[in-house]
Symmetry: C2
């Protein structure tokens, strides 16, 4: 029998904690025998929630964590002081090798800081990028970096491209993923100081399939599988994707309510529309990995429901079995 | 009788030149007696086009321009060498005061370079921003800078905010426009070096109605009337808006064709949907002004049809009558 994949789950993080997180954890272990979940949170609360479900008790362990990090708390301070919070407990489970990965829907700041400070970077990784999967008209792309650290260096963009390619190929299953540099024009000489310096580094890297600059206009059409940028641009891309989709859908729905004719039409197109919008939602694709750490840290949306938690936990199987971190280490040693 | 507004129109620039440009110019003069158009292009070609229409001959003058700047030409070189191209002729008409404004659907690079090199900046303006009007769910916002010069300084962002506020209030008619700084979080301390330095400058400027940081997610919901950012971020915002809208609409249309039921529904919602999409198209709102020059330079989409040309020409009336440049000069003198 293959080795178990141990995943620490922050049961107290996110808008729908603990109910949806616990539900997602149970769904994950019931879906795959290879997973064991370490559920961190207030023990009495979790026990109460778990009564609702049936599952193999060998696949779940409660890790008591009486403290809670509030949304407004400065992450660095919170991580340092609240050793008994669910998120910090999860971080230490990964750091000490008891777990392979952790999944949290809690404060992004706490996850990013805890990942770097407690779990720690793989030697040679300059900056661990947060890499959400985003939908496009053809499928999905990996967008990195969307983290909290802006103003990246060109050498960091190259590392993002290499780690992103490994993840996209081995975890998401896209062979020889096309890497694009997010830029304001397609020609090599276009862009700001960062993209101009990063372009030749990407172009001359034999380990990636670099296809050149990608304009934001082409991102939703799936022009590249791995989209490389620094975090300010990454945040704008991600948030525009979410904002424009939501605004346009709201406007289309209001437009459909404008006459009796269109109201009837709206009823008829509703099921098809619903499926389309589901495919194009950023929430449909599990969590965003924070790459380049000594273990996998997955940040899911604060609004995550059980399905996103479940998918994020199951994502960890491929991450372990495909030896992503070993591949990252091998590539980064070559780089020195 | 009020003074005429003289507008130079680049009849040879854009994908649909000269037919749609000439048509738009005629539509503009027929719509408003205050406008006189100076139509620059190859005289025989323009005369042939103009035969299709009836208009007051006193409102239109042909400016013969035998040369053409091709799409691929490096703009700086083209502007310098092709003195007899339609775009350069238009630039000189504005520089020499014969025209108040110019409208071009030609190469963005040539318009940006020509605007700065030939028309010239107002004294005190550090960098003239390209400021397209973008749709949001409530109406429109002005996004600046979307030009070719990236890596702006904080003091330039402050100027963008002030010029944008004047334009939005006096030309578009939004009283006391809300100015937002495009950023990756709403708190004052969020962002990159540029936004962190620009924030206090904007906050302490009494001439603008600064509402703080605006995340990209809130842009399509109309959270601010004037959106301030440097050109790399502005380009990503603009192109994501266009790309996500187009991709989502394509996907929705395909989804509606997936069953007989939804096909019938699609027929019924079509007129309502069409209006909604028209409201949310970046092409519906005339051209983007290049602010801070000694005259108004308006860049319209390369794909402009007559209606966009017409609207862009008519926009120039408010620009002149509201004395935008005088207001910009007054504010920028105060600044020193």
């Amino acid at each position: 029998m293959a080795e178990m994949v141990n995943v620490a789950v922050d049961a107290m993080g996110g808008d729908n904690a603990p109910a949806e997180i616990v539900k997602g954890a149970v769904e994950a272990i019931n879906a795959d025998k290879r997973v064991k979940v370490f559920l961190a949170g207030k023990e009495p609360v979790l026990k109460e929630e778990l009564k609702k479900y049936s599952y193999d008790a060998q696949q779940l362990e409660i890790v008591h964590a009486p403290e809670v990090i509030e949304t407004g708390e400065p992450p660095v301070m919170a991580i340092r002081r609240k050793k008994d919070s669910s998120i910090v407990k999860c971080m230490y489970l990964v750091k000490e090798g008891e777990c392979d990965a952790l999944v949290s829907a809690g404060s992004t700041g706490a996850v990013l800081v805890g990942g770097q400070v407690i779990v720690g970077r793989i030697k040679g990784v300059e900056r661990p990028p947060l890499a959400p999967i985003i939908p496009n008209i053809e499928g999905v792309s990996l967008l990195l970096d969307c983290g909290a650290n802006v103003d990246a260096r060109p050498s960091q963009l190259l590392q993002f491209a290499r780690m992103g390619s490994i993840y996209m190929e081995s975890v998401i299953g896209v062979k020889n993923p096309r890497v694009g540099l997010v830029n304001i024009g397609v020609e090599e000489e276009k862009g700001n100081a960062l993209t101009k310096e990063a372009y030749p580094l990407l172009k001359n890297c034999p380990e990636i399939n670099f296809i050149g600059n990608v304009e934001a206009r082409d991102i939703p059409f799936g022009k590249a599988d791995v989209l490389v940028c620094e975090a300010f641009a990454g945040n704008v891309v991600l948030k525009m994707l979410e904002g424009v989709s939501d605004a346009l859908v709201k406007k289309i729905k209001a437009g459909m309510m404008s006459s009796l004719r269109s109201k009837i039409g709206a009823l008829l197109v509703k099921p098809a529309l619903k499926q389309t919008l589901k495919d194009f939602s950023t929430e449909a694709y599990g969590g965003a990995p924070l790459l380049g750490l000594n273990g996998l840290v997955v940040k899911t949306h604060g609004s995550s429901k059980s399905v996103e938690i479940k998918n994020s936990i199951l994502q960890c199987i491929a991450f372990k079995e495909q030896k992503i971190n070993q591949k990252i280490k091998e590539q980064l040693v070559l780089e020195d």
